[in-house]
């Protein structure tokens, strides 16, 4: 056990946040990785991986809606919880604080655009 580890340790498959929950915080993966899955009609769809250094759970803070996906640890992962109120306060004091998150969201939208375009081409639409 390294005394210098921050955050909380999650075992393989352990749920960090659950789809449908009200989000009062977001997270950053300090070490390891996590997997986001969406549950619909009893089936799970893997949405993607969250690697070390990436933030997740921010959508619930911005749009105040329940969490859109369940996130669980992929192997051992160490995750730091980020308080909603602290984040919003910092963003109001210094809007550039949200730049990294906006960058990541922009990257995800590009990825979704590419995916949508691929699906539309595939269906002949």
């Amino acid at each position: 056990m390294n005394e210098g580890m921050l955050g909380k340790q999650y075992g393989d498959g352990e749920i960090i946040c659950r789809q449908g929950e009200v989000g009062q915080c977001m997270y950053v993966v300090l070490d390891g990785c996590a997997q986001a899955v969406s549950e619909r009609e009893g089936r799970e769809v893997v949405l993607g991986r969250v690697e070390a250094g990436e933030v997740f759970g921010e959508m619930a803070i911005f749009d105040k809606r329940p969490r859109s996906a369940t996130v669980r640890a992929c192997g051992a992962a160490r995750v730091l919880t980020l308080d909603k109120r602290l984040f919003l306060k910092r963003v109001h004091e210094d809007p550039s604080f949200a730049f990294g998150i906006l960058q990541k969201m922009s990257e995800r939208i590009r990825h979704l655009d590419a995916e949508l375009s691929r699906l539309k081409q595939g269906s002949g639409g």
């Binding site: 390294n2 005394e3 210098g4 580890m5 921050l6 955050g7 909380k8 950053v28 300090l30 070390a52 250094g53 933030v55 730091l80 919880t81 980020l82 308080d83 602290l86 984040f87 910092r90 210094d94 550039s96 604080f97 730049f99 990294g100 998150i101």
Partner: protein, 445 residues
């Protein structure tokens, strides 16, 4: 007066304030497609254990700052963090009260500020200071291993810095040398005609006990001593990897007070019986800023971190982050004129000063509570009872936590204490303690 492509920035000091200024300047410049050349002057080698590579500080990164840095992309690695802290323990006499972090998660970092104490061996980054300086270097900053010895302004008003051998002219100079080296004349030569920060002496010693002993005696908790000792405003023992740090703050720190603290039975009870009450292999009396410099900015020159303003007694690294980022934001996006700094940087600087006024008031109240035994016992017993209650009902615990950890602005802490429910419960607990301790008449005994 804007920074153009190829503009040069000189930063005096490579501690957290200087490194973070360089980091943010280069990050923002990259976002704005601006090419900057940033020189950081830091004579110390943070990989060197002992005084030569140390930035002399208790070494706590607060809960909000750990989170803030993580969002900024600065994740403190386990080799820099010596121990993750998940609770604080308050001591007064034989009584102890444990206040755990609300999420039972390690979100406070105890670390060394540089190469660690004498005899420290497991050094990878050079503590927090070496790690942050490395991040600035990775962003493109040039680290000059020399002390700035001369400074001034050229005929065109541009500032210059000299190391004795050479002189470099810059478009912006950032003062980030802290309060210890006594570099104020450098800033006077740049045009700062104001009072230098007022300082107080602190005492820090690092005692090697080994990770196992530290784990069993101190756990992952910072130990705060709530006893009334004149001249001592704050006393803490901070567990790290192989060492514990004793950190004493106040305006009356001297050898007699240090020995009285070490001989305090509550302090001795924390340590293994083999500890002889003596200082560790490394000890120092660094100064801390307790009153800011009046004017933090001029055209092409700005003061960040401790050599300008910092938070009173707590979260100095957090203040370094705030001032460094505000100075870098102003310089890249609003320019380096006096007017730009006065408009965009000074409000952040002044907010720290304003908040410290609440801090002084709070420390005066705490000092009074420590002196009056019934009030001190009331505060501790209220905190202890709240530990089994839901978060929303923990009024004293939240105040204690925010104050001792530096987790909230002093203003917020102050206003939390104005809640009538806080005082009603506090007075009730004080009265209960008074009754319980009053000697019973002989017929009742």
């Amino acid at each position: 007066m804007f920074l153009e492509d190829g503009a040069r920035v000189g930063i005096i000091g490579g501690g957290p304030a200087g490194s973070m200024t360089a980091f943010f300047l280069l990050t923002f410049a990259q976002r704005a497609d601006l090419k900057l050349a940033v020189d950081v002057y830091e004579p110390r080698d943070f990989l060197e254990p002992g005084p030569a590579g140390c930035n002399m500080c208790g070494g706590i990164v607060s809960e909000p700052l750990v989170q803030t840095l993580a969002v900024e992309g600065i994740r403190l690695p386990p080799s820099v963090v010596q121990r993750g802290i998940d609770s604080y323990v308050l001591h007064r006499g034989s009584e102890t009260v444990n206040i755990a972090t609300p999420l039972s998660e390690k979100r406070i970092a105890a670390l060394h500020r540089g190469g660690g104490p004498r005899g420290f061996r497991e050094m990878q980054y050079g503590g927090l200071d070496g790690y942050l300086l490395g991040l600035a270097r990775d962003r493109g900053a040039r680290v000059i291993a020399a002390k700035v010895r001369q400074s001034g302004r050229g005929e065109d008003g541009r500032p210059w810095l000299g190391t004795g051998k050479e002189r470099q002219t810059y478009d912006l100079v950032v003062g980030a040398s802290g309060v210890n080296p006594g570099d104020w004349s450098l800033y006077e030569n740049l045009g700062f005609r104001c009072r230098s920060p007022r300082t107080a002496r602190t005492y820090i010693t690092e005692i090697r006990l080994g990770a196992e002993q530290i784990g069993s005696h101190f756990g992952n908790a910072v130990h705060i001593f709530f006893d009334n000792m004149p001249g001592l405003d704050m006393a803490a023992i901070i567990p790290k990897g192989e060492f514990v740090t004793i950190c004493l703050l106040g305006e009356g720190i001297n050898q007699e007070l240090i020995q009285a603290f070490c001989d305090n039975p509550a302090v001795r009870a924390c340590f293994p019986p083999t500890w002889d009450g003596q200082a560790g292999s490394c000890r120092c009396f660094p100064k801390i800023n307790i009153r800011p410099a009046d004017f933090p900015c001029l055209g092409r020159a700005v003061l960040v971190g401790d050599c300008g303003a910092t938070r009173l007694y707590k979260d100095g690294i957090g203040a370094a982050y705030r001032t460094a980022k505000a100075a870098a934001t102003t310089a890249v996006f609003s320019g380096v004129s006096h007017a730009a700094f006065a408009r965009h940087y000074r409000p952040v600087y002044r907010s720290i000063i304003r908040d410290n006024r609440y801090g002084w008031a709070i420390f005066m109240i705490v000092d009074l509570i420590k002196k009056l035994e019934p009030l001190a016992r009331g505060a501790l017993s209220m905190t202890a009872k709240e530990q089994s209650q839901p978060e929303s009902a923990r009024r004293m615990s939240v105040v204690m936590w925010d104050m001792f950890t530096g987790s909230a602005p002093y203003r917020d802490v102050f206003f939390k204490t104005l809640d009538p429910r806080f005082w009603a419960r506090f007075m009730w607990e004080t009265a209960r303690n008074l009754r319980a301790r009053r000697p019973r008449p002989p017929e009742e005994a």
